[in-house]
Amino acid sequence: MLFSSIPFLYYFLPIVIGLYFIVPFKVKNYVLLIASLLFYFWGEKAYTIIMVLTSLSGWLHGIFIEKYRGKIGSKIALISSLVFGFAGLVVFKYADFLLTNVNGIFGTDIPLLKLALPIGISFYTFQILSYNIDLYRGNAKLQKNPFTFMTYVTLFPQLIAGPIVRYVDVEKELGERNHSLEMVSEGIGRFIMGLSKKVLLADTLAAFCNLAKTSTNMSVLFMWAYAIAYALHIYFDFSGYSDMAIGLGKMFGFKFLENFDYPYISKSITEFWRRWHMSLGSWFRDYIYIPLGGNRVSKIKWLRNILVVWAFTGLWHGAKWAFVIWGLMFAALLLIEKAFLKKWLEKLPTIFSRIYTLFFVLISWVIFDAGMEGGITGNLTVAMNRIKVMLGLGGVPAVTQETLYYLRSYAVIFIIGFIGATPLMKNLILKLKEKTFARKVINLLTPITYVVLLLVVTAFLIDGSFSPFIYFSF
């Protein structure tokens, strides 16, 4: 089920909220569990059982990790949990990619599995593994109740597209949490802002991207506008989802960690990845990069660690070579920055470092978008052609009348997008709130703004079409 859908907003949500706040605390987790399973079943049906079994496997492995703590059995249980967890990913996400490559290299004809990808499998697998690893390391306590553990894994606010919530971050709240008026109010605000980002900005920008990609009157300016629109689209789509997840979490008494911190204001690629999909970056850092030795190893091993982490980051997004190239491109940029570029950039005026960062981020999104099309390579040819057009090598005019029309038509959306991708408004509101009168006015306007946004979002949903979140694919 989509957050940005009428069935969720006006059927599922009121029923779940109503039930959740009526029942006593000890039943609340069960309400959330049943609601979450229904939420997942709505879109995935048969794969619901896969998710339940994967959760139970993670919980059971936890029991054994704890039971044999300090003994070899604990390590075996951990390795077994990793094997089970990654096996699910390999079978459903990577099998056909691997088989196609094997067939291509060795000339074999091994039939492909052609299994549909269970929605959110990468997210919930990583969450379960984080529990098993943290438990083994002694950073998390054993969860004895399988239903409570399944509530954590399947919790519908963050089930499908993150953020990747680690067990240790919600461990306490699973057993005991407060539901203050302030927290519910904050959650509602965050949810509505995320919903508005998705429906009003991301979906409108997606329409612009489709217009550009299917245009028969391409121009250099149009392709740049497409790259910028896609960058804004994916940001508002994914960060909008994270906002909704965090907001819903707060409504139900959970505090999820932030997943985005205005990534497009970054002054380097290193900084960009500290601000983009933070829960994924920290997962790879804590569970792969550091266990491999991080940067406290020889230069060759450090280079290996960087390449491994970024190849995995690419593959996490999709079983296609385009995503591997996308990940390795960032690895190369990060290495160059660490070697010398970051020091150079720091000496230059900020504008140059921002242009440098945004240029490569835009190029990366062009590859990423094309990667979602085509077979196991992703549509790399399309990506290269689009980049050529951006660089003026595509043999198309600099600008066409059609380009100007669409730019005029989407100008306000772009402007709102540019402002929304920076902390400008947030800082302004925080600044104004320091003054008593302004704070009162903002407080008065807040509920009005939320109602207006809900009305407009509903109008856009009713008149719109089916539009899933990009990160559902991962």
């Binding site: 859908s5 009428i6 069935p7 907003l9 006006y10 059927y11 949500l13 009121p14 029923i15 909220i17 109503g18 709505w42 879109g43 049906k45 008026l181 302030e182 519910v184 109010s185 509602i188 605000g189 509505i192 409108t204 299917t214 028969t216 009157n217 009348q401 059609e402 100007l404 029309y405 669409y406 005029r408 038509s409 989407y410 100008a411 306000v412 959306i413 704070r439 009162k440 407080n443 008065l444 807040t446 509920p447 939320y450 109602v451 809900l454 009305l455 407009v456 509903t458 109008a459 856009f460 949903l461 009713i462 008149d463 719109g464 089916f466």
Partner: protein
């Protein structure tokens, strides 16, 4: 306002909002059709184990149809669609809403991709009919293209548009050279079209009728009485979702039109039935333009004993023809009307519905948008 009161208001209004719409939507009786959108609305889907477990929409997937149901049956749906259109135009300053735009009161839907292959296919389909049925039989064969509204207002106002010169030349280059082209592009203006609809106004196309008749050497001059029906809301009215005023629909009639014999073919049963050129009852249909020759129908024969000649006309047409054909009746003893969107030419032959006689005029009269999507034309 204090932080606490703000929090109380935020929580209260949000819960009232989602619970309110939940209850109102549950209580609402589902509508059968949307008049403004001219379509049937999704009803509550069948709820069984099979539909819940169905994988695809084609298998009757309950969830997918329930989502459609909630969208279609949402309370005050038209008001919400209007709100979306207004936000798009007035707040986001978009130049169009779902490709619908408004210039000087004229509502239109732009399209800017010429499907060259389909345009060529259209010409080739007409050639096939010509080669198999019309050629070497002493028949006079013509074709004419009707520009859509965008020809007059899109490019001129900065909206995306196709290259109409290229469009015309593509058709011309691919049509059999023996089929004569009658150019009417320069005889029309945007005012000859309804403001809220795709079609031209019957009372404004006498000049087109005369031009076609002159080219086909037939006298169609006649006196008509104007009859007015209102309000007329065209197809773009619903698509724009904006509160646009209704228009007047004027139709031209006279004794000849009222007395001629009209026989139609039922598209489903292929049975013939008697009908009329105009039926004011059809103005109450989802598409009021149906008043002209019953709207979307596959086949008619119009016989006029009071014609100014013994000539016959076979016309292959789309919906634009519905309002033009009555004005050709004066000049022909018999007009055979074929809409290839709703009947395949092979079926016409199978039922021997058309006589291909020497001296008969044949006209292919199609609008640019239909030719650009010519896969809907069923020839063989």
């Amino acid at each position: 306002m204090s932080d606490k009161i703000k929090d109380i208001l935020v929580v209260t209004t949000f819960f009232l909002f989602v619970f309110g719409f939940f209850v109102i939507n549950l209580a609402k009786t589902p509508d059968e059709i949307s008049v403004s959108e001219r379509r049937k609305l999704q009803q509550f889907p069948e709820f069984t184990y099979d539909t819940v477990m169905a994988k695809t929409e084609a298998d009757g997937n309950f969830m997918r149809f329930f989502e459609k149901y909630t969208l279609d049956q949402f309370v005050w749906r038209d008001a919400f669609r209007e709100l979306k259109a207004k936000v798009s135009f007035d707040i986001f300053m978009k130049k169009d809403n779902n490709n619908i735009y408004i210039v000087d009161g004229q509502v239109s839907k732009y399209w800017n991709t010429m499907n060259e292959g389909l345009v060529k296919d259209a010409a080739n389909k007409f050639n096939k009919i010509y080669n198999s049925k019309l050629r070497n039989k002493g028949m006079n064969v013509y074709y004419s293209l009707i520009p859509d509204k965008n020809y007059f207002i899109a490019d001129q106002n900065g909206y995306p548009s196709i290259d109409y010169d290229k469009f015309i030349s593509t058709v011309k280059d691919n049509m059999n050279a023996d089929i004569k082209y009658i150019d009417i592009f320069n005889d029309l203006t945007v005012d000859d079209y309804y403001a809220t609809d795709i079609h031209w106004r019957q009372e404004k196309i006498s000049k087109i009728v005369e031009k076609l008749a002159s080219a086909m050497d037939v006298d169609v001059k006649a006196e008509y009485e104007e009859k007015t029906l209102e309000p007329f809301y065209g197809v773009y009215y619903g698509q724009s979702a904006l509160p646009i005023e209704g228009e007047k629909l004027v139709y031209l009639t006279n004794e000849t039109l009222e007395n001629c014999k009209v026989t139609g073919m039922d598209g489903t049963t292929a049975e013939m039935y008697d009908t009329k050129i105009y039926d004011e009852e059809d103005f109450k249909n989802v598409d009021p333009y149906d008043i002209f020759l019953e709207g979307a129908k596959p086949f008619f024969v119009i016989e006029n004993e009071a014609a100014t000649s013994d000539k016959e006309l076979i016309i292959y047409r789309d919906s634009f023809g519905s309002s033009l054909i009555p004005l050709m009746v004066q000049g022909y003893k018999k007009i055979t009307v074929i809409d290839l969107r709703y009947v395949a030419n092979i079926m016409i032959d199978q039922y021997k519905l058309v006589e291909y006689k020497e001296g008969t005029d044949v006209l292919f009269l199609y609008s640019t948008e239909v030719l650009n999507n010519s896969s809907i034309l069923k020839v063989f």
